[in-house]
Amino acid sequence: MAQMTTANRLTGLRARPGLLERIDVPRRVVFLAAVSMIAIVALLMAFIAWQGIQLFVKDGVSVGEIFSPTWNPLANAGPEFGLLPFIAATVCVTAVALLISTPLSVGLALFLSEVAPNWAKAVVQPSLEIFVGIPSVVWGWLGITVLVPFLADTFSGPIVISLPIAGPVFSMPGFLTGFSWMAGSLVLSIMVLPTITSVSYDAFRAVPQELRTGSLALGTTRWQMIRHLLLPSALSGVLTAVVLGMTRAAGEALAVQMVIGNSPTMPAAITQPLTTLTSQITLDMGNTVFGEPWQDALWTMSLVLLIISITSVVLVRLINKRRLAS
């Protein structure tokens, strides 16, 4: 029996695999995880879409009507479901937050990746992580107790910009209470700062070190290297960071709701109170009854938010596709 022929050895290999090997349990487990993940997202989207169209299907509101600037869901004679103030406010508050946050975050990311000595990195990076971990209610609370009174006290009168000869070229009312578009944007800009910073930091770190030394060896200054090599090379990553920040800002509800003043009006001045899609949903949802048009309108607002976030995911994908192509 000690002499095993080649044929024997082959049959040895061809022995029937054991049950566990045939079923391949680990593969099935991870497959199941992936499938349930997809299923959850698909069901969620289907549910929100279904609820979101009830306003049109069941309550007979036309799609055009939600783009009206008037929100009056409780009027006895013909309630109005204009969502435009919320959509516009979401766009405006997010835009100003990004305008404030992007230069700061990208600057911070550049500092961390190109300039910072190790001890500074050791301090700043954990601080950013703590930033992410602070619950939004805390930011909102800080906004109410510090930022809102500050704005109300400091800029209470009308804000006028005058030129020596031309006279006043710009004026807008001051902050009445401090609860305002500006307060919302400022709070959001702090909240999205870690997101934009860490994603753009990764984008800068992904640029190979050899390119930096290559540029410096050509006799460029460090700043020229950053401006003309690093930023263009990392541009798609930085754009991804900004889009992710945008998604986070547009989706933030609680902190914004606490400082924005919750007034469903069209944005005109940065000092005025507004209300965003998310803040209005948080504010109203407890007051509505399931199935009534008012709540259906809130679901439609959720659907709009979902569309915004899907759009930004697609945007990030497109940006990164371009990066791979180039």
Binding site: E210, A217, L218, G219, T220, T221, Q224, L229
Partner: protein, 288 residues
């Protein structure tokens, strides 16, 4: 800050292709044209000494090859000439490194200016993620050259000198430098250095990541560039050193792992009649 100073007209000296291999005689004849030198240079990484007491002189328009086993400090020494060691945390250099008689280690020397005069080609080709044209125009643009016509001219001349022009002229602006083959990328990097009109070109194993055909092209190119530039090349490939260089310096590692210069001389002599036993052992393959 971007400089507003005017960009000097590129002085691209005419290349006469010669195949003279009589390095020994030329070495003896041109001892007065010292372009680069090191005087008792030691390089430390923190407390650890990497290179000890190297004194070398390099003639203008010649090729000096630095050979020796890994860890003998060749690349470290090379990076002194354009002060790339400044970028390594903890690295410090003792002794004097001179370019045209000026000590480049002085604190008031502009490193940016030094690197414009002393260009560098790295071991792994490192083209920038931009078009071929922009790769070559990168250096001149940073020096304030924005004249379209001059840039066109400069890019063409540099690519021609780097023997890459014919292969890339049709999609200069469309094709990314990263889309080229390894050998082409390395010639692009050489063109990029040439476009900044350096006097000295440092090459850190420029062909070690390339296939034999590309290596040969780079070596031919080196022989041509030698007519206009002073070149210092680090190589692990002894045949390459023998083929391209005029002068060879052999380094090895001492017992404390510090690199030092064993001997330097005309390439022909180093490879046939080295003075030192260590050199002979290395070039005949008995060591290293």
């Amino acid at each position: 800050m971007p400089t507003t100073a005017t960009y000097p007209e590129p002085v691209l000296r005419p290349i006469e292709v010669t195949t003279s291999k009589e390095g020994a005689d030329e070495f003896a004849a041109r001892t007065d044209d010292v372009k680069l030198s090191t005087d008792r240079v030691s390089i430390l990484y923190g407390e650890k000494i990497a290179v000890r007491d190297v004194s070398l002189t390099i003639q203008e328009r010649s090729i000096m090859a630095l050979i020796g086993p890994s860890g003998s400090g060749k690349s470290t020494l090379l990076r002194c000439f354009n002060r790339m060691n400044d970028l390594i945390p903890g690295a410090s250099v003792r002794g004097a490194v001179t370019l045209d008689g000026e000590n480049v280690m002085e604190t008031d020397v502009s490193v940016v200016e030094l690197r414009r005069r002393v260009g560098m080609v790295f071991q792994r080709p490192n083209p920038f993620p931009m078009s071929i044209f922009e790769n070559v125009a990168y250096g001149p643009r940073r020096r304030g050259q924005n004249d379209r016509r001059k840039l066109d001219e400069l890019v063409e001349t540099s690519l021609r000198r780097a023997a890459l022009w014919d292969e890339v002229k049709d999609d200069l602006r469309r094709k990314s430098g990263l889309a080229l083959s390894g050998g082409q990328q390395q010639r692009l990097c050489i063109a990029r250095v040439l476009a900044t009109d350096p006097e000295v070109i440092l090459m850190d194993e420029p062909a070690s990541a390339l296939d034999p055909v590309s290596t040969l092209r780079i070596e031919e190119l080196l022989r041509e560039l030698r007519e206009a530039y002073t070149i210092v090349i680090v190589t692990h490939n002894m045949q390459q050193a023998a083929r391209v260089s005029d002068v060879t310096a052999f380094f090895t590692m001492a017992e404390d792992r510090a690199g030092y210069l064993v001997e330097v001389g005309p390439t022909g002599r180093i490879f046939t009649r080295p003075n030192e036993r260590l050199t002979e052992d290395y070039i005949s393959g008995r060591f290293g």
